[in-house]
């Protein structure tokens, strides 16, 4: 069914929020997930490429790789766009969780507000640093009193040749929490156990994590998992055999495997390690999205996350899920990728292998006042349309290029408008972390033209007439400043 949320803010009734009177561990039944989206970057590194370069490691499978122009924020925006496309809820809060925040001090979530076309009154904040931030953001939103957007995103790598590098993955997932008949999965209960121990840690600025001996962490996690799971099921008033799906995840793969067998329940679904790798903070979200893609009404889904303790969330799908039409399913993203990248490209993209720059001036970082003045354009890809003659302008203009009327413009968000390549070039001279760059002149459906970079594309495959869609990217980083803007990529049709 179509979610019943409109753009207009619908006041919430107090009786929908029962936290104060609820039994410990249970939550108000009417709050839940109304929509979601997962984003797995287009590029994959075959693990055999690492073996070929370093002569060690596992040859099976591949890992997803955030492109040179992606980071946790930009991937988070892509996942959130997918979630918001399905249910346009009047978001009040945005919680962004990642262990690889592009900025410190500055709220990374702030860029997401204009990028997603959300109003400034949205409370947007980061839950950063630890992998556990992901489940924290889900809990906070699920227990909140207002519609909220949760974004989980991460870029995982480690020392060359290590298992964090080969088993890691990059990706993002987003969930919109709300209430009412649009809820497709409601939170039944949750439980937690927290333990302070040196299992996995990283000092700010370091690129790879440090790990204690694997068997030590395994013992810590396994001592907590059974009680936490029983706590959650008891609070929900169900037994393990009533749980239809058990998702167990965490970066400690050995503990995850053992925990899964301790909990029992139905046979586990694909953990995506072979196709995507472990996306850390985002992984619980991507696995939950993949489960919801397949779920039927009235199924209980347990999400168990091992990270500095054990967290359990129990969801129950509603009848609304049978009519839910999501954005691109996780399974579709598993079959749509490019795996031609080399290990050295991967190392360059992650900043581990420093290549000689072109003999050209480095690009200047964005200046703060113009970036703020042009925020709707830069972050929200909002052009303008002449109210006199209907001509679209990108970037927005004050004087119409067609009829010459002055200040007769209305803003128009164009991020979701598709376009067609009018002409293009492959530039071998321009500065890029991954030369050459491809620039196309794009004519947008319904009017408007813009010249911009193409990404996630093979230079030899571009031709005039190609269909493209817009994607939020980090163009480059200069002078310690990330330059976010939009690029076009070949259209990935939603099935």
């Amino acid at each position: 069914m179509t979610p019943q949320w409109g753009y207009e803010y619908a006041p919430l009734h107090c009786d929908h929020v029962a936290h104060n009177t609820a039994k410990k561990g249970t939550v108000a039944m009417s709050i839940g997930i109304v929509s979601y989206g997962a984003y797995i970057p287009y590029n994959r590194l075959r693990r055999s490429e690492i073996v070929r370069a370093l002569g060690q490691g596992t040859v099976r499978g591949m890992r997803s790789v955030a492109s040179y122009d992606e980071d946790a924020t930009s991937m988070g925006v892509e996942a959130a766009r997918r979630a918001l496309k399905v249910a346009k809820v009047p978001i009040e809060s945005l919680y962004f969780a990642t262990a690889t925040p592009p900025y410190m001090d500055k709220a990374n979530a702030a860029a997401m507000v204009p990028a997603l076309g959300l109003p400034a009154r949205v409370f947007a904040a980061d839950m950063c640093a630890s992998v556990r931030s992901g489940i924290a953001a889900l809990r906070v939103a699920a227990e909140g009193k207002e519609p909220a957007l949760v974004v989980l995103s991460d870029i995982r790598t480690g020392m060359p040749g290590g298992s964090d590098e080969s088993e890691g993955g990059d990706g993002a997932a987003a969930f919109v929490f709300g209430e009412g008949s649009g809820v497709i999965a409601e939170l039944l209960s949750r439980s937690a156990a927290t333990e302070e121990f040196l299992g996995r840690w990283r000092i700010p600025g370091e690129q790879s994590s440090r790990l204690w001996e694997e068997r030590f962490g395994e013992q810590v996690y396994l001592s907590l998992v059974e009680d936490a799971f029983i706590d959650a099921t008891k609070s929900a008033g169900i037994t393990t055999d009533q749980v239809h799906n058990v998702i167990v995840t965490g970066l400690h793969s050995r503990a995850v495997r053992r925990a899964r067998s301790i909990i029992g329940g139905p046979p586990p679904a694909d953990d995506l390690i072979q196709e995507v790798g472990n996306t850390g903070t985002a992984h619980p979200g991507i696995l939950l999205a993949a489960t919801l893609d397949e779920a039927e009404p009235d199924q209980v889904v347990a999400l168990v996350v091992l990270s500095d303790g054990v967290d359990v969330l129990l969801f129950r799908t509603t009848n609304a899920i049978s009519g839910y039409r999501g954005s691109i399913a996780v399974a579709d993203q598993l079959s749509s990728y490019s795996d031609i990248m080399s290990y050295t490209t991967f190392l360059s993209w992650r900043g581990i292998l420093h290549r000689e720059p072109p003999r050209r001036p480095n690009p200047a970082g964005p200046a703060a006042p113009p970036a703020l003045r042009n925020q709707a354009w830069k972050f929200g890809f909002e052009g303008s349309r002449c109210q006199g003659c209907g001509t679209r302008h990108m970037p927005p203009q004050r004087v119409c290029q067609h009829c010459g009327e002055v200040d007769q413009m209305a803003g128009e968000r164009l991020a979701d408008i598709k376009g067609t390549v009018a002409t293009f070039t492959v530039d071998h001279l321009a500065y890029s972390l991954s030369p050459p760059i491809i620039v196309a002149v794009i004519d947008f459906d319904g009017g408007g033209r813009f010249e911009c970079e193409l990404t996630d594309v093979d230079p030899s495959s571009v031709s005039i007439g190609d269909r493209v869609e817009m994607t939020f990217r980090r163009l480059f980083t200069a002078d310690g400043t990330h330059n976010y803007f939009w690029k076009a990529r070949p259209l990935q049709e939603v099935k």
Binding site: R360, W377, T425, L429
Partner: protein
């Protein structure tokens, strides 16, 4: 648009032009001093006889003092102008207007650019602080957008297009090989051009103009005074400059097969000079061949070929030294490189030589002997769809 022009009101009576090269041993000041001195000598006048100066430079210096300091110009008006790659032409245009207005008797237009001190290849410049959303394209990439659009529109396959562009580079290097002032003074084989490494789109290194330092200068006086300075002045028939609205990259109606700004400035110039059929009436043209594909498109925008037919004319040799309408007989930007402030005046310098039959035998064009008396310069700045364009027409006769 009312553009009356100043046809036959002013004339060029002296010119100077340095060799264009990687002048590691010469500064901006050195280049200015040399072009300045040669222009004065050519007109047989002294520095004191020049009443006002227009200096064109895009990024080699600011204000009139860039010229007055090295030349020790004593409390006279020196105006520094900039208009992208048409900067040199803009200096000339303003000097002409100053003389035509009666404000001054003798004016100098001088252009200079020192590109090779930056340590970078290609053009570069500082841009005002911005929001970071502008596409980071190098110049070859911007102009390479023309090639696939032209090919598709006129049904030319990739190999044919490569042959056409190669022919343009080959011709300009052939001409430049016969010019002591050119940066590149050797002929280049079509095979070498065709197989040169790709820079952007279908453009290889030999489809791009070079990067050089240089300076050029012209002395402008009232037409009636011209013969006091030289037996063979060249008279200014037309000066047209337009800045486009920059809407090509934002308007789906723009085709990427034409420079609308060039069409506008050319038609304005033809009207000023009373030219009806440029292809038949003009003896030669110096055009802005920053890239081979640019020259191809310019042939149509200047009405030197029918729409969609320039590629055939190129292959037929129409624009060769002995063709119907020689284009870039001095070797063009292809052989000279493009020191931005100087290029427009360097183009005029070749008109000066050819119209006065002073060009060396080995690159002398055939149309002068056949009685044609008009030459055209066309200077372009910006990129396809968002450009400034300058067109001038000069001739040997004071009135037609």
């Amino acid at each position: 648009m009312s553009s009356r022009g100043i046809c036959d009101k002013v004339a060029v009576v002296g010119m100077g032009c340095t060799r264009f090269a990687e002048h590691w041993g010469k500064s901006v000041d050195d280049l200015l001093v040399e072009a300045f001195a040669e222009a004065l000598q050519s007109a047989a006048i002294s520095k004191e006889e020049v009443d006002a100066f227009w200096l064109g430079t895009m990024m080699s210096g600011y204000s009139g003092m860039t010229l007055s300091r090295p030349l020790k110009i004593d409390h006279k008006p020196v105006t520094r102008v900039e208009n992208y790659c048409a900067t040199g032409s803009e200096a000339f245009r303003n000097a002409c207007y100053a003389v035509a207005s009666g404000a001054y008797d003798v004016a100098m237009a001088i252009g200079v650019e020192k590109l090779k001190d930056s340590g970078f290849s290609g053009l570069h410049g500082t841009v005002p602080p911005a929001d970071g959303t502008a596409a980071q394209l190098a110049a070859p990439a911007m102009f390479s957008l023309l090639a696939p659009a032209y090919s598709k529109r006129y049904g030319i396959d990739e190999d044919q297009m490569k042959e056409v562009l190669t022919r343009i580079a080959w011709k300009n290097h052939y001409n430049g090989a016969r010019n002591v002032r050119a940066q590149f003074r050797g002929e280049v084989s079509k095979e070498t051009i065709r197989c040169s490494p790709v820079v952007a789109g279908s453009l290889g290194i030999y489809d791009c103009s070079g990067v050089a330092d240089g300076a050029a200068a012209a002395i402008v006086v009232r037409a009636e005074d011209a013969r006091r300075y030289t037996e063979h002045p060249i008279y200014v028939k037309a000066l047209s400059f337009v800045a486009g609205p920059g809407t090509g990259p934002t308007d789906p109606a723009y085709s990427y097969t034409s420079f609308t700004e060039v069409v506008a400035s050319a038609e304005d110039a033809y009207a000023q000079a009373g030219i009806v059929d440029p292809r038949a009436e003009i003896a030669m043209a110096e055009v802005h061949d920053c890239f081979t594909v640019t020259e191809l498109v310019l042939m149509e925008d200047l009405r030197f070929a029918e729409r969609g037919a320039a590629w055939k004319e190129v292959l037929a040799g129409t624009y060769d030294l002995q063709g119907d309408l020689p284009v870039n007989p001095d070797g063009g930007l292809k052989s000279f490189g493009h020191p931005i402030g100087a290029s427009g005046l360097r183009m005029l310098f070749e008109c000066w030589l050819q119209l006065r039959s002073e060009a060396p035998e080995e690159r002398r064009i055939g149309t002068i002997a056949r009685g044609k008396k008009l030459a055209l310069t066309q200077n372009l700045g910006g990129a396809p769809g968002e450009a400034v364009s300058f067109v001038s027409i000069v001739g040997t006769e004071p009135s037609r």
